[in-house]
Every structure is written in C-alpha cells, then in structure tokens.
Symmetry: C2
Subunit: 673 residues, 2 copies
Amino acid sequence: MNELAPMVLAARTHSLAGADHGRIRIEAVSPEIDNGRYPIKREVGDEVAVSADIFRDGHERISAELFYKPSYRPDWSSVPMELIDNDRWCGSFVVSENTTYHYTIGATPNAHQTWSDEVHKKLEAGLDIHLEIAEGLELLQEAITQQTVWSESIRNVWDVAAGAESQIEAVALLTSPHLSALMRSALPETERVWYDRVLSVTVDRMRARYAAWYELFPRSAGQVHGQSGTFDDVIDRLDYVQELGFDTLYFPPIHPIGHTNRKGPNNTLNAAPHDPGVPYAIGSELGGHDTVEPSLGTLEDFRRLVESARARGIELVLDFAINSSPDHPWANEHRDWFYIRPDGTIKYAENPPKKYEDVYPLNFSNPDWEGLWQEMRRVILFWIDQGVTAFRVDNPHTKPTAFWEWLIRDVQAIHPETIFLSEAFTRPKLMKWLAKAGFTQSYTYFTWRNFKQELIDYFTELTTPPVSDYMRGNLFTNTPDILPYFLQESGLAGFKIRAILASTLSSAYGIYSGFELCEATPVPGKEEYLNSEKYDFKVWDWDRPGNIRADIARINQIRRDHPALHEYDNLRFYWSDDDHVLVYGKQTIDLSDNILVVVNLDPFQPHETMISFPVEDFGMPYDEQYEAHDLISGERYFWSGGYQYVRLDPARESAHVLHLRRWDQGSYVEIDT
Amino acid sequence: MNELAPMVLAARTHSLAGADHGRIRIEAVSPEIDNGRYPIKREVGDEVAVSADIFRDGHERISAELFYKPSYRPDWSSVPMELIDNDRWCGSFVVSENTTYHYTIGATPNAHQTWSDEVHKKLEAGLDIHLEIAEGLELLQEAITQQTVWSESIRNVWDVAAGAESQIEAVALLTSPHLSALMRSALPETERVWYDRVLSVTVDRMRARYAAWYELFPRSAGQVHGQSGTFDDVIDRLDYVQELGFDTLYFPPIHPIGHTNRKGPNNTLNAAPHDPGVPYAIGSELGGHDTVEPSLGTLEDFRRLVESARARGIELVLDFAINSSPDHPWANEHRDWFYIRPDGTIKYAENPPKKYEDVYPLNFSNPDWEGLWQEMRRVILFWIDQGVTAFRVDNPHTKPTAFWEWLIRDVQAIHPETIFLSEAFTRPKLMKWLAKAGFTQSYTYFTWRNFKQELIDYFTELTTPPVSDYMRGNLFTNTPDILPYFLQESGLAGFKIRAILASTLSSAYGIYSGFELCEATPVPGKEEYLNSEKYDFKVWDWDRPGNIRADIARINQIRRDHPALHEYDNLRFYWSDDDHVLVYGKQTIDLSDNILVVVNLDPFQPHETMISFPVEDFGMPYDEQYEAHDLISGERYFWSGGYQYVRLDPARESAHVLHLRRWDQGSYVEIDT
C-alpha cells in the first residue's frame, strides 16, 4: 500500500529515473516495425523521416531531438524535431552508408519556452511582468550554472537583460530567437526523456530496391540438343541479356545433381542414363553446395562468368536451396541432420500427393542444429568469395525464420552488400515475417493478380507503410515453377501487359527466360511449363517469331531513363471509369520526373475511358498545358488538367507509359539587339 | 562471429528457451493498449473476445490457448482458441468480478495434428502408409510417456490401433476426434510458446458504462434568495432528480471557500461580504478537502443525503479539484507544495490573460511530492468512507498522469467499485493518455460537435477499438463552465436535439441543472452562463415555462427500458441523403433489442429524406414487415427493408427513437378443439 516509490518507477513510462516524473510521453513512432523488434529497410542516400506523438501533461513546452548513428559508431548525432500539429513531431536524417543505422528520440521539458509563451501573453494583456522577468533571469542563471559551452553566451544575454531599461526591452532580449536557441542547446541532459527503444534501419545498396532480374538455366544456354550448356555458353549470352536491359542474372542451382531417384523429363520417375535430373536435387559423390556441376564447367569458369557479367554491369545471383539429394555428402556425414523414419530410412520431401523422392529435406530441429546453421553460413560465404553478391533463397518458409534472421544478419555484418531474395510463396503473414526477419527482397502474389481492384488493393498494401518499410516486392512475371493461366490464355498482348505491370508497379522485377519468347505451352490444366527445363536440357531459338524482345528492351530502357521508376513506395493509383483500365503514377520526390501509366488489363478487347488524376501530384499547375509523352508508342499529347480520354487496343498497345513534362517557356523573352 | 547461442536466444521472439526454436509467432493481439502498457476496460458480465495472429513457419499444425484469471488468483484458467482465417485465431472469456483480470496466449506445435493431416492426404492419394502408422503410434507413445492424466486413455487407443486389422481402421482410430482432443490436452507444456506480455482488463461495475448524470450546486438547491441551500434542501430535491430519471448526482466542491481574493458575482474581483465565492477556491480556516462548508450542513447531514439518494437508486459524486485557496490549511502547513515566486509569494493560478487570484495550483514537482500524493489519496479514501462511490476530477491534465495512474490503481485495489470521471478538456492525445492511465470515464468534445459528419467521425472514433477499449465518453450537454453557442442560438428544439444525442450516442451522459429549463443566457459573446452559480447562490423556478423536463424524463425512461442503449461500443451510423439528418443504430449482441435513431440536427427547419440501413443488422429478414415504434412520439410504422422515408420538423419533434421489432406470428397455428 505504501510502496510509493516502486509505483512511481513503474508509472514512469519511457523515461529515465529523475526525468520529469514520466510526464513526457513519446509514442506512435513511425517508422517502426513490431515495436522495434525488426529493422526498417532503406537504401543508401535515402532520407529517413521519423515522426512521433510527443507530449506532456499540463501546459509546459517541450523540445524533441531525433538521435541517429551508423551502428558501428560510438557517438550519436542529433537533429531537432519540429512540432507539426496535434502533438505530432517530425525529423529526418540521411543514411549514406551500406550498413545498419540506429535511431531513437529524446524529449526535454523546455522551461524557457514555457516562460516565453507566458510572458508574451501577459505582455499582450498589458499586465505588470517584473516578477516574470526575475523568473526569466533565474532560468538563465540555472543554465549558466550548468557550465556548458553555451554558458558564456547566455551570461552575455543575462548581463544585458538584467540592465534593461524597460520590461519590453528585457522581454525582447529574453525571448529572442538567439537566446531561445542557446537555451534549447543548453537543456540539461539529465532531464531528457528517452523513447524506450532504439530502432534500426538496414541500409542496403540501391540495387536492393531498383533492379531488373533475368533468370536462366545455364545448362539450357547451349546450342546442342541433349547436351548441357556451359558457363562459357552463358558468357556468350551476356550481350543478349544486356540488350534486353537486365542488370541481374539469376541461375537455378549449379551444383552436382544426385543419381538416386533422379527424375526424368516432365517429372517422370525413372530417368534415363542421359537425363540430367532436377538441379534442386543437390549433391552427389562429386560434392554438394560448394561444388559446381562439371558439365557446366569449373569453378574457374564460373568466376570468369561472374567477371564477364560484372564488366557489363550485370550482377550474378545464385539459388540457395537447402535441399539434399540422397547422394549429397551430408547424407553420409550428417545423417542426424535429416528425418529418420521408423524403418531407419531418411524421409524424402513430400507435399502429398506430390513426392520428391530425389530430395531429402533438412531437419532444423535436429540436436546438431548448430552444426547445420554453421554449414549454411559457410556455403553462403563460399559463394560470396567467388563473386556472388545476391542469393535467391528457395522455400525459406519451410525453415526456421530465426535461422534466416541469424544468417542474413551475420553475413551482412561482413558483406553488407549481399542481397537475399525470399522465394516464399506461402501464407501472407509468414511471407511478411520473413521480410521482417531480414530478406532484402520478396517474391509476391503479383503472379496471380490480374484484375483491376485486386492489383490496386495488393500494390497499395505492398508499397505503403508499414509493409513498404520492411518488404520490397520483386515482381516476377513467371518462374520455372509457374506459367500463370493468364499467360497461357492471353497471347502476345497478355505478355506485354504483364511486362509493363511488373516493370512499373515495382522498382524491382524479373522474368524467367522464355517469357520474352511468349513461351506458353503448359502441362495441360496446370500452371506448369510442358517439357520444363527443370527436368531436361533445352535449346532455345531466341529469334523465333512472336517474341517481345524489343518491347522488353524498351521498357527496361524507360526504367533506366526515369528515376521515378527507381522508387518503390511512390506508387499512387488513380481513377478510370472502366473496370479494365488501371491508372497509376510515380514521381520523384522533387517532382523532376513524372510517370503516368495507363494499362488496359483486358488482353482481348480495346477499351476507351476517361481517367482522372490530380495534376498537382505531378507538379503541373491545373490551368496550364503540359506534354504527355507516351514512351511506348512515341506519341505526344498536349493535355491540361487531370481529366483525360484514353483508348487502348491490345491489337496495337495495351499501355501508355506517359512522361508528363511541363514546358518551361519562360515568363517573357528579352532580346537585346 | 561464433556467438551462435546468444544470437539464437535473441532470435527467439516471443518464446521460452527450448520451445520449438522460436518458430511460432504470436502477434497483433487484440484488444491490447500500447503493447500492454495499459489495461483495457470492460464491465462485469462482459465476454472478452481476444484475437491474434498465431502462426509458425513451415507446414506444421499448432494449437493455441487463451489464458486468463482475476489478478488475485494464483492459477490460470484456459480456453482453446480457434483458427478463423488467414492465421487469425480467436477465443474469449467472461469477466464476472469487479476486479482486474489478466490474460495472455500460449501456442504449442501439435505434431499429432500435423501427422493426421499428412496421413489423410496420403490415404486419399492411395499411398501405402504403414510407416506413417508406425510414426503415429510413436507420437502416442511419447504422449503416454509424459505420464499425464490423459496417458491411460491414450494408451487404450494405442492398444487398439496397434492391433488394427487394416491401415484404414488404424488411421480412423489414430485421427479420431476423441484421440485428437486427448493429444491436444496432453501437449507438453515445455513446448508451449508464450506471448511475451501478460495483458490486463480493468473490470468495472456496470455503472461505469451505463449511467445518467445530473449536476447541481447544493447551495442553489434552496428556496431563499441570497442564502445558501443545504444538503437537506438537496434531499428535498431527490424526488425531482428521480422523476427526471437520473441515477447519478454530482456536486461541485462542497468544502469551505477561501476569503483571500474571493470572487464576486460574474467573476468580479472584489466580493462583497455576503458573496459566497467560487467553490473551486477550496479551503479556509474551517478546513480543506476533508471538510464540509458549514452553510451546506454537517458531515452528518452529508451522509444522510448519501443514504437518501442511495435509497432512490441514485449515486452521489463529488468533485475532486486539486486547488487550494490562499487560506487552505495546506498553504500554511505545506508551503513547499506550491510555486514560490522571486518575491516570496505563492503563485496563483493563471491562464493568461485569465487570472484566478483566489486559487493556488499545487506543484507536483516539489521535493515533497510523495507527501502531496499521499494527502490526495487520504482525501479520496476519506470521502469513500462517507459513502461517495464516484469522483469527477477537475482538470486532471494539469497534474502528472503518473500520479493519476498510481492514485486510481491504488484506490481501486481497495475499493474496486470507485468511478473516476476525467474532466480533461485538453488536446486529444493527452485526453486519451488520462483514459489509458485509469480514468473510468472521460469528458469528450461532444459539447462542440453539432454537425453531421463531425458527429459521425468523432463517435466512430470514440466507440470503436482501440479507443473504446480504454475510454468511455460521458457526454455532457453543458457544464457550469460551458453554455455552448449551439444552445444559445437554437431554442427549445436545440436543447431536445442535444439531449437525444447525448443520451443515445453514448451509454453514459449528463446534464448540468438548468439544461432542463433551457437556460441559455450567456455572458455576451462567450460560452459562459450569465450570473453563473459558480459565483453566487441561485434560486431556481423548476416549473418555469419552456422547460423540457418531460422530454428528459421520457428519454431516460427509454434508456432504462432498452438494453441496447446500455452498451457503449455498439453504435453504428447509417446513410441519409440529407446533410442535416443523422441516422444511427444500437443493438444488443443477441439482437433482442434494436434501436434506430434519426435526428434532424437542424433546430430551425424541417428536413425530409430517405434513410438506408441494413435490416439484417437489426435481425430483420429483408423481405418481412416489421414494426418501427417511435418511442418519442408513440407513433408506429410498418416497414419492410431498410430504405425508408422520414420527415422531422423541429417545431414538432427533431428525432425518432425507433424500437424495431419483428412480429412473431408463428409459422402456423394448430387449434385442438
């Protein structure tokens, strides 16, 4: 009953002992993920805007500061936060290094500001304020006594104010911006109330946000039917990838493939001796995850490929699939890493009724889980040493999220440039958990979102806080596992629609090779490719008719030319009165680059409609002519206002990608002759 | 680099050591205020529905339990939570005692469920499952070995299943609901993952939510001009209060009033000797906060009044105003509790240019703040001993919120029935902070919300989580400090409009006496009463023409008759096509009582409009006739469907309060002769 002191301590939310009795409250800090349990994500050069509700009971004024630093530095920097409205404060800092930053907030009662407010009101009311001036001088005296670097300057003001000839003159001196700034700087640190958490920012390099991925199977890069392509064949294809405009090249696993229960073409059970097997059935007597399949070449060849790609500005990405064939060295050396069945056999992977007899899943709950974790870390670091800077992670959602959190954090502590893409096609909350836990980018449900409202809903969610603070969607039009029904049915127009959507809805997107050829032959009734490269070598005719290589190259060029498309969270949807016509815009923060995209989502029929968007969002005065330049067709329009007519015929083009540009004509021209 | 173990611990969010490696995540728990920093509020008899996102990486199944208990009990009760959809789980418990409850969530991997799912899929696919059956029996064996109270029952199933004659028979036994329930009960507690917080519910008595307050100045309860009314006069007025239908009677301070700088009528500076002063200038040589002003009567008289009121079902509320007149005993005995100015005087209260020379504010930052806190607690407990069960707290926002949190928690630990109403007319976030910190009810901005959209916005916010989880708005039409401009301008119709809104938008509302007489004479240009009772005695003619006593009595009767109006968070707004016609409904959870309110907010002109509401919300089939009984006018309508015409003329009545009632005609009648 009389345990007053502990109760007070408990009641002192978000404050240190002695600091104003917990009267200042700091809450609703944004950005913040799960109470700071996970870092937010940004890219080098970004300005991190932090806002919070900061308030105190009573009428006393407060000052608030935003503190930040790269995690490796001992000392904090700080910037003042400004009161916006309704007790909401804002401040920002720039993250300039590819590392982890920390930030938090401190607030301090500002007795001088409180006093200034009161004395001004009394002066206006014509009241005598000689006692108030005495109180103001007392406040200065206290600040002087603190003996800070500001003490001398404050003493100078004190001297003049104490000798002022009128109350008005004294008040002018004692409430001047000069003194207010000094007094704010001199606020005693012991009175600062701290937000009770230190928050983190994972600052990645730009390509974590802005990238165009191209996926190919190296063994299908060759020219000879029934024979494996090689890393050297891939080197020969780099010009092609570069012409298409992709900057990131991703391979499914390149390791030796197991023999036991090897799959044949189209996932058949009994492979012929010449069948190469599934690249995800990793490991044989030749080695495991740190080994290259010899038919692709040597590790030396692989490093040469990495260098050749890099010379063209193309980054190389490997697949990280924690799978083991029955012939993987792990299966002999670490039987305890697997699931053992009652008959003593190792359990293979299943998703009933599907069976993956050629793959053993790893048991992360095994007693030697620590050994397993360390081996995974060793494999990643091995490939980083070979020049790999990014990993596409296969099915991360079937492994412990805590493992990924540890692995990514640990690897990025050494190699902060490393990018991890999560291929988690799973339930939405688990997908998000993986992103929070550290994955740099994430596969999304884009592949199955084809219609207007579902696209608006889903991409508003993905590109808006809180989701955009931790998850970057990398939009794949297709994958070796997924030939969407939409592409099976929609013909060339459908492929172009999906390419435009993927490349402009997000700043990161990707295609799996064959997409540019409009390859669309499914296993009947399934979302799978017939004669998939997953089970066989393949030789492609990259020039075959009906391809959209020029369209892909064009859209990648548009992306390079337009910084508005390099941003992720600047997507805004606008209105059209047709259920098939999707309208959205992207701008740079300074409105120097403005893109408006209009897509007819119907691959079969032309649609004409009115669209509406606020021209002010694009930096255009509402009453001025501006140019809308369609970067797809090359056509130009003069528009004024944001209510416009469009017609899009899939037989011609299904989309406008419009660059909106104000014509600067000058206010007048002066010609001196 | 090799500090793996600590990293794992850090990564084990929301889990205890050893529990499934942190693979289960429990998040987005609702209700929860500020991460559990503050309790939610409920009333005795409520069902507390708790939902959360609960999920695990991978495909393994989990079970989740909701744990709860009154805080004083050592042991937890639990109920199973059910998976609703998209990893969202829900469970609920009933709070039956006026005390604090705790609740939290535990989740456990359910290997038996995971196994059941898999074996069923394989059975459907026609696969051989003899190894699966062996694995299932192993799971049972593990559960038996735990030696729980369920072990024997599980062993019985094991015995039969092990001897089953077919795989189908074995699977039927091993996946039966009977065994599933046993296996769920036997889930090892060591594997349970706990939510990392224990949350709290403040369970108040019903009147915390459902109450009708009436405020009067006891000194104005008399019959003789220029002379103080007494507690005995108030006893004489209890019949009147009861006839009006109020259940809670609240007095401004009843303590001795200081002499120094006493205010005269209309807040004038020089009081005449017979002027009684402002009741908020508390304390004189006769005593302070634990003393009764002698002209009102004795403490004995006060207790008799409390009893008389209680006999009529009326509760008595005192004002708790932490103010001190210069003559208060504190000013002599505890000078250190006040603000001392440079000239040695005690600072009086100010809100420049307003001055309150008759009131000293207390300094909660004084070195003896602990003594001050304890004195406040003593005063509250003193009045509880006199039979007071509720306090209206004056200006709580100018005192430390931490103080209120301590005081209310401490008092309610002894007297859980005590109600505290926060009179914090301040910034919205501070108002909410006080509610979170413990105030049972809160004054709101209702007094200044008159138009349709602002009423919809504000009351949607107040009656919807998260705000409704911690804040109960007590809607006052007027107070001694506030005669709203709307009432000054709108005449009798305006008073009736505001009474209907206050009494039906919230389950708790109040009027300050004089409202029922439509008293509306302001200090010109201000929201203040002319000749306010705050500064003087007053004698009222309670029968004067133009009063709305019958209307107030009727609406309070309607409130008593209709349990739908006893609920706070069941308010829903509906559509009308007139900007002045507000439509809203309230239902009991079981839809046994249904109220639809339609208010013409314009006190000057009649409005007619179509309104629309989903009849299903009111338990009516859309294709059936139902009765809409206007409890104000007594008129009845047969309606079908939720699209209806209304016309409301302020010259007659500005509102419908409709009781919607289905006519149960039976499907047919069988008459035996």
